[in-house]
Amino acid sequence: MFGMFGATLLLAFREIRRHLLRSFLTTLGIIIGVAAVITMVTLGNGVTASIRDQISSLGSNVFIVFPLRGDREVIRPFKEDDVEAVAKQIAGAEEVAGSVSASTTAFHNGADWTTSVQGVNNAFLRAQSIDVEVGRPFTREEESAGKNVCLLGPKVRDAIFVPDTSPLGEEMRLGGVSCTVIGVLAERGQGGGPNQDQDNTVMMPLKTVQRRFTGSDDLQYFVIKYDSAYASSAIQDSLIDLLRERRLLQEGADNDFNIIDTAQVNQALGAATGALTAMVAVIAGISLLVGGIGIMNIMLVSVTERTREIGIRLAIGALAREVRLQFLTEAVVLCSLGGLAGIALAFVLSWSLASVIDVPFIFSPAINLLSFLFSAVMGIVFGYYPAARASRLDPIDALRHE
């Protein structure tokens, strides 16, 4: 029986090779459909992973609180006493820390580099799970006195320090402010927003940056890392109450601040990708249906063209089901080849698109396998009618054909 099937398979390949261009054009619908599905799913996975990555770079169980334009169209910034009040009064808050930043240029030994300086305290590093790879974090004294010490992002170190030399203890300049390097931060990658490279930063004590760069005691935002044993909604509610009270907001007035909950963003993201996937499935379904009808059409043409051949096969004793199997095999092989071409195209497309939009390329064996099997099944579904028609031909009529 294998001899029969092997020969049938061989014959199918031979027929397809004989009409190479036609076979290619026929399977184009499947190729595009399969490639579209796989590319979208692969890119979707990449985008999701990249966003999740950025969110997790903000830390898990973290709220980020920043001021909005209020009723009087003026931003009412948060101050350090807000941070202290939250830390003291909100149950479950483990770390509360403010941050300010400014763009600047870093100089060392004649080299310069455009970067930003971020004013934070150690509590911020803990809240955001930022590690100091080399050297040490700030001391309490450096924080409270606003000393000119700095922690370098790895990009800044690479840009202005000689490779393989330790920057620790070196003097460098940020704009007009000189500082002593006390440590280098661990690599974190992209995050926080578009074009925001978290490794291209210099951190100094909050007080230093407020005094020397931003010129006020305002905070741009603050973060709260909370104990995961507490419900995030409960913490959020009490946080809103506290902040409204401190900002003297009237009953009915809108909040003039915003709270981002990383857990909520994660959920919203899942829902968004789910909707996207459903849409892709519909589009792919339509394109595959069109492709399938193309396959059916070309198989019917092939049956007509090869009527005489079918007559010969029937005359020498082929059973109806053997003729049907031959054409069905051809349709399945054709569709499977289309599926494989689609997979190859999707690989190239999603790999290059992933690098263009700067998300990771995450190869999903499941969607590739599924698409391949689906295209093979399409061969059965759309090849069945032409194959059945071939098998029902009358041998005498078929032999007389042409």
Binding site: M4, R18, I312, A315
Partner: protein, 241 residues
Amino acid sequence: MGTSPETRPLIELEGITKTFGEGPAAFQALKGVDMAIESGDFVAVMGPSGSGKSTTMNILGCLDVPTSGVFRFHGIEVQSLDRDQRSLLRRRYLGFVFQGFNLLARTSALENVELPLLYRGENKAARREAAMRALDQVGLAPWASHSPAELSGGQQQRVAIARALVTEPDVLLADEPTGNLDTERSLEIMELLTRLNGEGITILMVTHEEEMAQYARTIVHFRDGLVERIERGKTRVAEQA
């Protein structure tokens, strides 16, 4: 098979009719054909065009069924078999040679000859060996890898004969096998058929040409869908020589 094949002819036709179409357009091509053919015979079927020769051959070849009448082959009543059962009969007992050769184009002579063995489920090595032997029998072993387009008409018909032979059939049916060939090629084919008949294969052949019919042992004359007369036990060309 309920009855012993030894006691009765290989092929029996009793009151075979064949009507094409229905209603007022119906046309009766065969009007009650009776004929018996013994195993090992070499039969030439002759008659004017449209007299029902091909229709009879198609029934004998189990490609078609009669409208009425009984067709027994090896004692089996073929008219009551279904399509697939008749296919199995063809693949087991029958070989076909057509006027138009009917080889698969763009397929080597060897693969053409292997084709019937494929449907018998033989493995590749067995197919190859048997096909080469059959090609050798028709003197075309050196042409095994050539496609039909690269062969002359006579050679193509010999490939077709090799394809019919390869399953070692009981009966070889040939409907005007020399109709597309010149006299010299035709005589070569007839010599080949005579040799095969000598090896025990029953041959049924339709021909227009008296010269070709002289190779047969029995000549059946058709006229208007009926057997007009049968000449049996003729002295054949091969035996005259």
